[in-house]
Symmetry: C2
Subunit: 287 residues, 2 copies
Amino acid sequence: MATSATLNAQLGLAATFKCENLQKVGAFKARGATNAVLSLDDATASRGVLTHSSGNHGAALAFAAAIRGVPCTVVMPEDAPTVKFDAVADYGARIVRCTQSDREEAAAREQAATGATFIHPFEDPNVIAGQGTAALELLEERPDLEVVIAPIGGGGLLSGTALVCAEAGIETIGAEPEAVDDAYRSLMSGVRQPRVPNPETLGDGLLTGIGALAFDILQRLGVTIQLVDEAAIVDAARFHLERMKLVVEPSGATGLAALRRLAPQWQGKRIGVIISGGNTDFAWLAR
Amino acid sequence: MATSATLNAQLGLAATFKCENLQKVGAFKARGATNAVLSLDDATASRGVLTHSSGNHGAALAFAAAIRGVPCTVVMPEDAPTVKFDAVADYGARIVRCTQSDREEAAAREQAATGATFIHPFEDPNVIAGQGTAALELLEERPDLEVVIAPIGGGGLLSGTALVCAEAGIETIGAEPEAVDDAYRSLMSGVRQPRVPNPETLGDGLLTGIGALAFDILQRLGVTIQLVDEAAIVDAARFHLERMKLVVEPSGATGLAALRRLAPQWQGKRIGVIISGGNTDFAWLAR
């Protein structure tokens, strides 16, 4: 957890950040993958686990499988960054390369061949429950929070957070880049909207459209979304880096960006913000 | 505190990092300045405190004076970075500008005019004792450490660390850039050596020569220095940034650089490393 007296003075509130950038694999994804893999019965687990991912979920599943000592296969598009391939390989998982359009077919072929269990990055109750443990830990240390903010992509983190916060009577707000506003439009309209095609945003961890499970949970719990623009995301990531000395990926900085937008109506309040991850190449630092 | 399973596996030991980059004012200096200011009697404190500094000590003293609610004056060379002026001003201290060669005279004039107490960045037992609290906290959480590494510039942090570790029967090692090796040469020869003039090192927090108080303490306690080269400093700062998601200034990364040099002889050991600060402009990231 981290706080900034400077930020609190600027905004007129008391913010506490949960630092999932310091989590294993550099993101909250380690939580959901670990919970899903540890929830499998022994016979199922022994046949291994499988996913397709170009991002942090692949590394998280490889990490979780290594903890349990079971085989892991990650189907990855050929154009994924080298650093992502390395992360998955470092945890000892087998990598199957595919094209961007062939991901699901390639994963299905692997599953048929190996009998491995497919672990979805967010359409899975055990994954959502695992992601919720970030908020659980945050509330254990700060039970007096009044609002918790978390970023939304597929919605695993936000829906897990909302389930934990609802139990404690605490409001949950999602933070979403304007350029990929499908979760915002889904919850406003009451109908799940498709993901934005080919969006331009630095929040590359949030490109996924909102999942069906997450949509149901967030709608039922009355969670609302605060949109943030690209300049606000860069400013927030820069503040984390320069003032708080924390490496936060742009997706992970949307929480602070949303906090700044909502601060005028939250004077004197105690707010929790989940920093979702820290895996970034710093290209945004030049902006 | 932070650990890295990747690093421990690479080096064959168990390292624990004390993160003074996450400290107030972004460096351990907040500890010594606070202890010195809080140690003054009321009458003395009410006349204020004073120092000359182009770096973190000025901001640390301004921070400490603000805590106690007493006036603070920082004499700063005109060519100090704007960000350093801003940090001192943000804590409410008065800034007196001087030339690089006029620092001590300007400070003496201010002291004569105001009756403020001059707080030296390291030639002060209360400052050294304050810096030692970083190691104290580290050992409270990790009492089984076998060695603790800390960077050395003037020697306030290293001598405070060594006093705490000696009490606990734990070895202390200093980390110093090769380009400013006066502490190394001082402790090897048994005679305090002058600072290296106009050195070229990224460790801009360690340019100061070893102080007389620190030299006496380090010599008496048998502390040794591990020199590290510039490439090793950059590699270490990059590892902190990219793998541990922590912003560490090059001076602060000398501890990890020294750890890597000494790891072959420390297999299986539990090592503490003090990251001294995180105030950096990231220019080294391009190297």
